[in-house]
Each structure stands twice: as structure tokens, then as C-alpha cells.
């Protein structure tokens, strides 16, 4: 097991290298450059823009830029932002990454805690009223765009009822308070979790239905075990195995979803930073966030694989 994990970690190196080559190439292929946004500013001349590009080494051939970038990365230097001139990319990212991770982890937990029980309830009494209600809610959840859902929640719960803050991570001009933080976290976490909760519920339901149909469940029932024990001890453990894969794969979805949620709720995470960096062609920033996301996704998959082994004794590494 340990050997397997080490092997997997070593394998991530060529993987990340591949990701970096691809994304560096794609980013450079995009037309325009970081000075495009200075362009219709009458205070900045074309010569000034050229000087900026030269100074930043952006006029060099792509492979030269890549090798230089890679060299810096190896020494842990992700470079300086082209938009926040002179500020190291890592400093900007580290100021926001905790916010994104917090939001992602809380949403993931929320999704798991809500989805699995509902999925099981649905599966225990398929085609009942409960099942239909849960199913309908799931489809609604999947179909609701989260920017719309977020705005509706803000209008309803913040503007009209005043129960929740309308955005941000904490109340302005007030000292730190854990309760205040949690209060701010609730709405964005709900919004980010909605779609994942919905699909996770569906997966749990179908996976459980599958399992509850198996011979060994019938055997367990025939032995006279209580229904609870059959479902939760024999069924759940087997039924959750495919669900685990999904949880591992939730991570990339969360990274994507967090961009929108962060924007609506004014949540200062890396999703927003990434969008801005992309539109402004802030190359070092785009690359740094891409690499971090790639790493997170690889870690997510690794965790899913390890959990597999824990939950399914048939799997050995």
C-alpha cells in the first residue's frame, strides 16, 4: 500500500510536467497580451506597452519562456504577477487559497452528509412518494445554474429577510468572530454544494438499488437480519464504493463551480483570481493556478483510489 502511494506520487511528476507544457502552450496561443487592457487608455502609449513586454521577457520565443518558467518553478519561484506588478504570484494565491479550500471542503462535506442519507432513503423505497420527491429535488438541483441560485438566495434571504450577509467572508469593520465567519459561509457553501448534492444523491440511489438486489442481500434477509442491518451493514458498504469514485472526481467540479460562486458571493478565492488572470493574460498567475488545480485534482484521485482499497477488500495494490 505504502509502496503504491509512493509510486503514484512519483508518477505525478511527469503528469504535472505534461499539464504544464500543454497549458503553457495553450495560454500562449491565446491572442492578445497583458497590455491589451492598457490599450484604450490614452495615458499609456504604444512605446510604453512595448517597453513593458520587453521588460517582462514576453517578446522571447515561447520555448525560451517555458524553460525560464520551468527553471524558476523548480526553485519554487512562481514569478510575479503581470497585473499586480511586482507582487509575487504565490503571495496573491496564498492570500486566497485558504478561502477556496474552506469553501470546497465545507461544500463537499455538506454534499456528502445530505446526499448519502437521501440516496439511501430513496433506494429503500423505490418509486414511493419519498423517492419521487427526492428524485425531483435532485433533478432541480442539477438543473439550477448556480449563479442564478446564488442571486435568488441573496435577494430572498439577505435583501428581503436579512437573515444572512449578502457576501464576503466577514463583516466589515468588525473584529474577527467565528460565528460571523460561519454565518458568511452558509449561503455560498449551499450554492456550491447544490449541484454535487443532487448528482451524488442520484448515484447513491442507483448504486444502493443495485446492491440491494444482489444475492448476498437476499441471503442476509433470509437469515433473518433486521432490515436496518441489511441495508446499512451489508448494503451500504458495498453500495458506497462507486460513490467514492464520484467524490474523488468532485474536486475538479468544485474548482470550476467555485469560480462562479466566489464571484456571486464576493468570496475572495482563487477562482476569481483565475478568471481575472485569464482575461488579463496574466501568464504567471494562470500557470500557477493551473498547476495548483492540477495538483489538487491528482490528490483527489489518489485519495479516491486509497479509499477504494479501504472500503473494498477485494482491491489490493
Amino acid at each position: 500500500m505504502i509502496a503504491y502511494i509512493i509510486r503514484r506520487i512519483i508518477l505525478t511528476i511527469p503528469l504535472l510536467l505534461g499539464v504544464s507544457v500543454l497549458s503553457f502552450g495553450i495560454v500562449q496561443l491565446a491572442p492578445g497580451d497583458p497590455t491589451a487592457l492598457m490599450m484604450d487608455n490614452p495615458g499609456i502609449s504604444q512605446e510604453d506597452r512595448e517597453a513593458f513586454l520587453e521588460e517582462q521577457g514576453l517578446n522571447d520565443p515561447v520555448h525560451v519562456q517555458y524553460v525560464r518558467w520551468l527553471g524558476d518553478i523548480v526553485t519554487g519561484d512562481f514569478g510575479e504577477s503581470l497585473i499586480y506588478q511586482g507582487t509575487p504570484v504565490t503571495e496573491l494565491i496564498m492570500a486566497r487559497l485558504p478561502n477556496t479550500l474552506l469553501l470546497m471542503v465545507v461544500s463537499a462535506l455538506l454534499a456528502i452528509v445530505v446526499a448519502i442519507p437521501f440516496g439511501i432513503v430513496s433506494a429503500r423505497k423505490p418509486y414511493s412518494l419519498t423517492d419521487y420527491t427526492v428524485t425531483t429535488a435532485s433533478f432541480l438541483g442539477m438543473a439550477t445554474p448556480n449563479f442564478w441560485f446564488g442571486l435568488v438566495l441573496i435577494m430572498l434571504l439577505s435583501v428581503h429577510l436579512g437573515w444572512f450577509p449578502s457576501g464576503g467572508v466577514a463583516t466589515l469593520n468588525e473584529p474577527f468572530s467565528l460565528l460571523d465567519r460561519i454565518h458568511h459561509l452558509i449561503l455560498p457553501a449551499i450554492v456550491l454544494a447544490t449541484a454535487e448534492t443532487a448528482s451524488l444523491t442520484r448515484y447513491t440511489r442507483s448504486s444502493m438499488l443495485d446492491v440491494l438486489d444482489q444475492d448476498y442481500i437476499r441471503t442476509a434477509r433470509a437469515k433473518g437480519f433486521k432490515q436496518r442491518k441489511v441495508v446499512y451493514k451489508h448494503g451500504l458498504r458495498n453500495g458506497l464504493i462507486p460513490v467514492l469514485t464520484l467524490i474523488g472526481l468532485m474536486l475538479p467540479t468544485f474548482i470550476g463551480g467555485s469560480v462562479v460562486t466566489e464571484k456571486i458571493f464576493n468570496w475572495p478565492g482563487i477562482g476569481l483570481l483565475f478568471i481575472d488572470a485569464t482575461f488579463q493574460r496574466d501568464y504567471p498567475m494562470i500557470m500557477a493556478i493551473t498547476m495548483i488545480s492540477a495538483t489538487l485534482v491528482i490528490i483527489g484521485n489518489l485519495i479516491a483510489d486509497i479509499l477504494y482499497a479501504i472500503f473494498d477488500p477485494r482491491i489490493e495494490y
Binding site: S45, F52, I83, L151, L172, K263, R281
Partner: protein, 553 residues
């Protein structure tokens, strides 16, 4: 019951709008017209109906969709940074309600024609936020930064006309120019003075990375830097020592809310006191005003929007074609329906509230018949009956480009497509991601495009229409006219303002006649704020005399 139906209305409204707006539209962080760097306004200074004496105290929360980048005027180029710099720093002179230079750190100034020399007399007794006295050395230091060969920021060309800067005593600065430059005095309204005692020892090549820019800026302005929390807010607090008196407000928090719908929702929830709203938000804004939750101030922006033509494309060579295109476009309707009437038609590159504005320029009003005539005169006829005019086997057919995320301009391309089709011109709108769009314009890879210019208080039009500005400047359409070139050069050297206004107005008339652009309209800036706030603003500055802003307690 009433409340519920209102709620439903609101929800329906959000739903409808959110379907149209994608959550990721990219209107962030650009120095683009609708948030112009020097948002200028008309003569009348806006201030609230006086409701009594100004009161001390209050924390103002300003909301904006884009974030600042750094607080050093010689290196920043975005609107939010510039705004916050305005709270903490002072320039040598300021722009007043008439868009003319007024005393700032300099009390008065004179110009010597023979010596090409400006002399600025500085205010005495001004202190930096750290208590050090402000002197002429600081001015000389600041203006020398962009002149240094090691300078890496984007403002070099603005200081190119300076020969030398000298602090002759503690409170006198002499600036000698290489050539007469009428625009120079306006540059002194733009650039903040930086503290030499803090930045003086840092090599100019490293100034862009100085901690000063992001961690502890020190200025002479009405507010002192307090805190910048990345992606959330920047907070400044009152400077008790401000040379024009302590501000009434205790602090200003500049809050960043990247989504514009969420920004308005935050205003409604009472989390923001002051923000700019766009025309499409007017229905919500009006209901807020009706409920007594808001006041709105409309101030004309220092900007105009236009359709530009690539004059390297033979189709547009003949000015009759350009005039015909303007005749064929119902600009009134565009202003009424797309911009909700919130602006004024433009017919030239001048702004009505500027001291240099020619009211009497040729106007090409909406007249499709006239447009058809002009096109026929220019030799474009529909000979094969397909509804599109041809000349020498070329169809009168072209594309019109616009940058993504600017909904108003996207709609303008569609109106142009329809209306121009009626006079036999085939047009294809192309909406392109912003950076790529700018790149294509710059490479002359376009036929026509919709864009806007945000202007400075100085009315010179040289940067946009001079033939020297084609390759490396803002003359994107490659318009070239020796007569106009000469006129604009003269206007840039005319040190007498009346004489200069005359020359600029003459140039405006030529541009209006030639129509290198179809001039569309200049828009209003809509400033929304809580009823307790008493702000000042004009076209040149939406945070005018910020130290005099106050809030009812």
C-alpha cells in the same frame, strides 16, 4: 400580500436578467470607457440639496466590481487603483468643475514663454502621513521617476516633453520643457507626488516592486492607508493633519464585489453606501429611489463611443461612404433604446462641457435616402439585384467587431447590421473576447469596430487622429490628413487657452466632416448612494473634494 407580489416581481426580474447575463462576463479590471480613469463631469458640481451642517464621522463603504493592483501612480494603470490613490495622495494641481487646473499641492504657478519654463510655488506646512514635511524635493523626485532610463512603468511618454526638473528652494519647483507643450499643465493634475524620504533610496528599476506600493503607501492626501485584504477590500482612515482640514468621514472602505448583480444586491442589503450603476440596472435603481433607500446622481462621463473604420480598407477610402454610413444609422434610436436615453449624441470628438467644444460641426442625421444617394455618388450600386451594392466587382460587405462583455456595444453592432442592410450594405457583427479584440484592432485585422474612448480633462485630440499615431498610437483607423495634423500640432503648442480652444474646435469640425468614425454618444455616469451621504462629484472626478464628503449620523 403586496410585499409578496413585489418579491415575486423581483425574483422574476432577476431570473430574466440572469439568463441574459452570464455569470462570467468579463467586465472587470479594465481601463475602459464606462469607468473612465478620469471620469469627468459637467460644469455644475453635484452636491446634495443642503440639509444642514456637515457632520463629523461615518464610515463610507464604496463598492466596485474590479480590484486595485497597486498604489503608486507611476506604475498603476487601472481605475480602482487610481481612485484609491486619490484618497491617499495629492497631485501638484487638481481638476476643478470647469475641467481646468486648480491649486493642489501647488498654490500657484507661472509659465515663461522664452525659457519654456514652468515655476510651481508649493503650499507650505504640508506633511506626509508619517509626519515628515513635504517639500519641492518630493516633486522633483516624483517627476524624475518616469524620466529615468531604468523606469519600468507605463507612463514614460507623458513626461517626454520635460527637459529638466529642479527644486530651487524648499517650496519652488522649476520645470523646463523641451518644446512648448500645452498639455503639460494637465499632466500635473494627473500624477500624484510620492515621498522622496521613503522611496528615494530605492533604485528606479526596483520601484515597481517596492513594499510601499502594496503594504504601506504614504501620501499627503486626506486619508491614510489602513489595510488591504486581497480580493476583499482596501480601507483608508482619516488623516487628522490634512492640509485642507480633517475629512468629515472617519474612514473609507473600498469593497470589491466582482459580480455586478451581486454588487447591487449588496447595496440593497445595506452593505454598500456608494457605487456606480449601469443603465440596465435602472429599473431596480428607480424602485430603490422611490422607497427612499437611495439617491442617484447623473454626471456625464468624460468619454464617447464610436464606430471606427479601417481606412486601409478601400471600401472606406471615400469619405462619402463614411458619411453615408452615419446617415444610415439612427443614432437617436440607439441612444434611446440601448442606452435608455442616458447620455448625449456625439458628432465630433469634443465633449459639450469642455472649454474646447465646437457646437457648430457638420451633423449627419438619420436619413437613409441621403445615405443611398451618397453611396450611389461614390459609385456603389446594386447591379445584380441581391440587395447589396457593388463597385468594380467588390461587394459593399464588411464585418463589425466588438469586445465581449460590453452588452451595449454588442447591441450596437446588431442595430448597425439591420439599418445598414436597408441601404444595401451587408454587415456581419463579430463579438470577440476582449484581449483578442484589442489585439486584432491593433493589427488592422478588422473592417469596422465599436469602441469608446475615456478621455482626460485635456481636450487635445492629437493622440487619436494624428498620422504619427497610426503605427504606435491610438489612431487605430489609420486616418491621415496633413491639414489636420498641422492644426493639432499647433493646438498642442498654443499656451494661450483661448487660442488653443479655437484651434481644437477647428480640428473637431474637420474630424466631424471627415467621419473617420461614426460618432455615437457620450454616456452619463450613474452614481448611486445612500440618502445620508453628501458627496461632491463632477465629470473630471467622481470623488471630488473627498475630504468634504459627509454622512448624516
Amino acid at each position: 400580500m403586496k410585499k409578496i407580489s413585489k418579491l415575486i416581481c423581483t425574483l422574476a426580474f432577476i431570473f430574466a436578467f440572469s439568463l441574459i447575463l452570464t455569470a462570467c462576463s468579463s467586465d472587470s479590471g479594465t481601463t475602459e470607457d464606462n469607468e473612465s480613469e478620469n471620469t469627468q463631469e459637467e460644469k455644475s458640481e453635484v452636491s446634495n440639496e443642503d440639509s444642514g451642517e456637515a457632520q463629523q464621522g461615518g464610515d463610507l463603504i464604496v463598492g466596485n466590481v474590479s480590484a486595485p493592483t497597486l498604489f503608486n501612480d507611476m506604475f498603476s494603470s487601472d481605475v480602482p487603483s487610481d481612485t484609491i490613490e486619490g484618497f491617499m495622495f495629492d497631485p501638484l494641481t487638481t481638476i476643478d468643475e470647469n475641467l481646468e487646473p486648480a491649486p493642489g499641492l501647488a498654490e500657484d504657478w507661472e509659465y515663461s514663454e522664452e525659457e519654456l519654463k514652468w515655476t510651481f510655488h508649493l503650499r507650505e506646512g504640508v506633511n506626509w502621513h508619517d509626519g515628515e514635511p513635504f517639500t519641492a524635493e518630493d516633486v522633483a523626485f516624483s517627476y524624475n521617476i518616469p524620466l529615468n532610463e531604468e523606469y519600468t512603468g507605463p507612463r514614460g511618454s507623458h513626461f517626454a516633453s520635460i527637459e529638466s526638473i529642479e527644486a530651487t528652494d524648499d517650496y519652488t519647483v522649476e520645470i523646463t520643457l523641451k518644446r512648448p507643450d500645452a498639455k503639460f499643465l494637465f499632466q500635473t493634475t494627473v500624477y500624484d507626488i510620492l515621498p522622496k524620504h521613503i522611496l528615494g533610496d530605492i533604485p528606479v528599476s526596483d520601484l515597481d516592486e517596492a513594499d510601499f506600493n502594496t503594504k504601506n503607501p504614504v501620501g499627503t492626501g486626506p486619508f491614510k492607508f489602513d489595510e488591504w485584504v486581497q480580493g476583499q477590500y482596501v480601507k483608508v482612515v482619516a488623516n487628522d493633519d490634512y492640509f485642507q482640514g480633517r475629512p468629515y468621514l472617519d474612514s473609507i472602505t473600498y469593497k470589491i464585489v466582482p459580480d455586478k448583480n451581486a454588487l447591487l444586491a449588496q447595496y440593497q442589503a445595506g452593505d454598500i453606501d456608494y457605487m456606480r450603476v449601469s443603465q440596465s440596472d435602472m429599473p431596480t435603481v428607480e424602485s430603490l429611489i422611490d422607497q427612499g433607500q437611495a439617491q442617484l446622481e447623473k454626471v456625464p462621463d468624460l468619454q464617447y463611443n464610436y464606430i471606427g473604420y479601417n481606412l486601409r480598407n478601400p471600401i472606406f477610402e471615400d469619405k462619402k461612404v463614411r458619411q453615408a454610413l452615419t446617415h444610415a444609422l439612427d443614432r437617436e434610436e440607439i441612444l434611446e433604446t440601448i442606452v435608455y436615453g442616458d447620455g448625449e449624441l456625439s458628432n465630433s470628438p469634443g465633449l459639450p462641457f469642455s472649454w474646447a467644444y465646437n457646437e457648430d460641426v457638420p451633423v449627419f442625421e438619420y436619413d437613409p435616402e441621403k445615405a443611398k444617394e451618397l453611396l450611389s455618388e461614390a459609385g456603389w450600386e446594386d447591379t445584380d439585384g441581391d440587395g447589396i451594392r457593388e463597385k468594380d466587382g467588390t461587394k459593399l460587405s464588411f464585418s463589425i467587431k466588438s469586445g465581449q462583455g460590453r452588452e451595449v456595444r454588442e447591441q450596437i453592432t446588431q442595430v448597425a447590421q439591420q439599418q445598414w442592410a436597408e441601404v444595401g450594405v451587408e454587415v456581419t457583427p463579430e463579438i470577440i473576447e476582449w484581449s483578442a479584440f484589442i489585439d486584432q484592432i491593433h493589427q488592422f485585422d478588422y473592417d469596422a469596430y465599436v469602441l469608446g474612448w475615456s478621455l482626460t480633462a485635456d481636450p487635445s485630440i492629437t493622440s487619436y487622429f494624428h498620422s504619427d499615431e497610426v503605427e504606435n498610437g491610438l489612431n487605430y483607423g489609420a486616418y491621415s490628413n496633413p491639414e489636420l495634423d498641422k492644426l493639432m500640432e499647433e493646438s498642442d503648442m498654443a499656451m494661450d487657452q483661448e487660442k488653443r480652444a479655437e484651434l481644437i474646435e477647428e480640428a473637431q469640425a474637420i474630424v466631424a466632416e471627415e467621419q473617420p468614425y461614426t460618432f455615437l454618444y457620450s454616456q452619463n455616469g450613474n452614481h448611486l448612494f445612500v440618502p445620508q451621504l453628501h458627496p461632491n462629484m463632477h465629470s473630471g472626478n467622481s470623488y471630488y473634494k473627498i475630504h468634504e464628503w459627509w454622512m448624516e449620523q
